[in-house]
Symmetry: C2
Subunit: 411 residues, 2 copies
């Protein structure tokens, strides 16, 4: 299920010079589906990533971090390999060996070193990675490496996603053209036991490593780090940002207007990819933005926003289109902001002023709340009246289908 029609996913996503994509059907878990993706970077590309904070971080995440640390100008990252069907998580030393074996195999085929390859896995946790099938699938993936394979790439990283997630944009910064394309996947921490969120965004500008490291963190903080479906943080979450450097624009300083424009565009496209994940959330029928304003800090605004976004009672009320708004107040109250003065708090649902100074707005009418709750896209806005900070998160409702999907026995 997905909320409404999803954001438009164009089959003619724009190629980004300097990166080629090739997929294969390796039969990792099921036959006859694209489940293996190789991304090959041209010399000169830089790459940076952010990864799950889960202590049970998967073997490929550990290998990615090591290879990123070891990368040098002389021996930069040159390829990414992504498999679905198996997360290679909770697999111990043997899992690390298999992730490394995958890198070594691809490196051999491409004529680079194993440390120049980053591995990613998504799928079932606690089961051994079928590394022989992945190795066997690599030649086919390499054989169809093309710059215009983005849509197929988005399809090939899907697990229980009901639709591929991708976005593309061209823009002009300082008179120079920039092409930017990204893909993502994820739909809950995911049935069956899946280890979930992956995102890849490439653009053709040249960006020094230190700046790219900052850029990927900032973009994630404004996109993938602001979405929640069920509050479960996967063992495999990864978001990679690739600057191929094969285009016209070159960034040299974080203080330049060009950098700021580029960063804004990267954040916007990342947000688009993140929203696609929420819209395709397990069982989702509604897309909810929770914005908390006038807080003392972004952190406390986020705490409150996530408390609302994670509350099963709030989420079932959205599913039922029930303006059961005391549930939102209760979730604000237990968010852990200890000195919150609720008597100054105001709550809005879209344009409807629901709670005023901590109690029911005397002018609030149930039918107005009902009208908003029936919509498939809703903004919850909380005003704290204690500062100037603000944060937004995006989430979905909790439906019967969420339970059905996650209670299904692993197939």
């Amino acid at each position: 299920m997905a909320v409404n029609s999803p954001l438009p996913v164009s089959a003619d996503l724009k190629p980004v010079a300097g990166i080629e994509l090739g997929y294969a059907e390796a039969g990792v878990r099921k036959a006859n589906r694209k489940d293996l993706l190789v991304m090959k970077l041209a010399p000169g590309a830089t790459i940076a990533g952010v990864f799950t904070l889960n202590r049970f971080c998967a073997a490929p995440v550990q290998v990615c971090k090591t290879h990123l640390e070891q990368a040098t100008d002389a021996a930069p990252i040159r390829a990414l390999v992504i498999n679905t069907g198996n997360a290679n998580a909770g697999t111990g030393e043997e899992g690390l060996a298999r992730a490394n074996a995958t890198c070594a195999e691809l490196a051999g085929l491409l004529g680079v070193k194993p440390e120049q390859v980053l591995p990613f896995s998504t799928g079932v946790i606690l089961e051994p990675l079928p590394v022989e099938r992945i190795k066997a699938g690599l030649p086919a993936a390499i054989a169809n490496l093309k710059t215009d394979n983005w849509f197929a790439a988005a399809e090939s990283i899907m697990t229980t996603d009901t639709q591929p997630k991708a976005a593309s944009r061209t823009l002009t910064i300082g008179g120079k053209k920039v092409v930017m394309t990204g893909i993502s996947k994820g739909a809950g921490m995911i049935k069956p036991n899946m280890a979930t969120m992956l995102g890849y965004l490439a653009f053709d500008a040249k960006v020094p490593q230190a700046l790219l490291n900052q850029l990927v963190k900032d973009a994630a903080d404004q996109s993938f780090n602001c979405i929640t479906i069920d509050g479960d943080t996967s063992t495999n979450d990864s978001f990679m940002l690739i600057a191929t450097g094969a285009g016209e624009l070159e960034i040299t300083s974080a203080d330049s207007a060009e950098y700021k424009e580029l960063a804004a565009a990267v954040s916007a496209l990342s947000q688009n990819l993140a929203h696609q994940i929420v819209r395709d959330g397990e069982g989702a029928t509604k897309f909810i933005e929770v914005t908390v304003e006038d807080g003392k800090s972004v952190e406390e605004c986020r705490k409150i926003a996530y408390s609302i976004g994670h509350s099963p009672l709030v989420k079932t009320a959205f599913f039922a289109s029930d303006p059961n708004l005391g549930r939102i107040l209760a979730a604000i109250g237990y968010a852990g902001v200890d000195d919150l003065d609720v008597s100054k708090l105001n709550l809005y649902l879209d344009d409807v002023w629901v709670a005023k100074n901590g109690g029911r707005n005397p002018d609030y009418k149930e039918e107005d709340g009902q009208r908003v709750m029936k919509k498939s896209e809703i903004v919850v806005r909380v005003k704290l009246a204690r500062g100037t900070a603000k944060a937004s998160i995006w989430t979905c409702d909790l439906s019967h289908d969420y339970v059905t999907i996650n209670a299904d026995y692993r197939s």
Copy 2:
């Protein structure tokens, strides 16, 4: 729905000398149901309580706290008044005025001061308390005050509970008889918008105020503070402990063996009442104990236990009887214990050793996990291998019925 048969609730709960209970049908929200309860304490009783930490704490909770602070030996708390059908939460100044008016009315009828009455409300949030109906119902509740009304009292505080919750015990401490009886209610933060958990436990020993204050905190920490159904903390949660002093035992020191025996009995009975709430949890089909052992601190053990107990993915797996155990590892990993070494972690489901040193136990067989998951009572045991601390929490599964119950439009 409730897990299995509930814990046995005897209709002949033992009267506790020094406390009388009277109920009425006040029509607070619906006609023809017990919805008003008065508890009258004899002179000499002491009382202490713990309350919700929700910042949107309800008007009656605020009044309770004030009256408990103002109570003196000369003017002690003499009565409690509890209504269902309306939580008097999110109601601002007017809510406080109505809670105070309820106290004043009961005080007038009993010949005590308003400050000697504690008010409690449970029910719908954000709606004005129908204080006139409650006042009108008080004479009938007073008319049937009896020491042996505990079962009717348990019924009269029910909201969406499917069964009354009560427990009773007599014991001998230092050669002296102690009678102890308690009631509780709650079943999720509760449809429709209810503000939920209430617990009352009385015994006939004499306990000085300072010790009782400590006793109620300790008992709550080992019982009501260790249960979770959906992670939503209500605006009205209250647990009151009453020492009538009308029996044989008198406690004078926290260092006495008698105090320790009494405290253990109070904790055990509180735990029993708390477990009844989980077993009657909204949509619950399974009763799950999560025990985390060998931690550095009780706090980190609780963090991990709650992370497991709150995970919708773990809860739906229990509902499905699916030994989808990577979900438990993932929940441990994101619990926020930053220096956790997962390679030393062991996980058991009842007697089945599932994960060994952070990975799948080579001897683990899926059919063994399946056998345990099919049971209606399951113990999840996590061993951290980093200390000697331990904590347990109790929770239930997440079923279709949870969504159905909470998505129902308020009736």
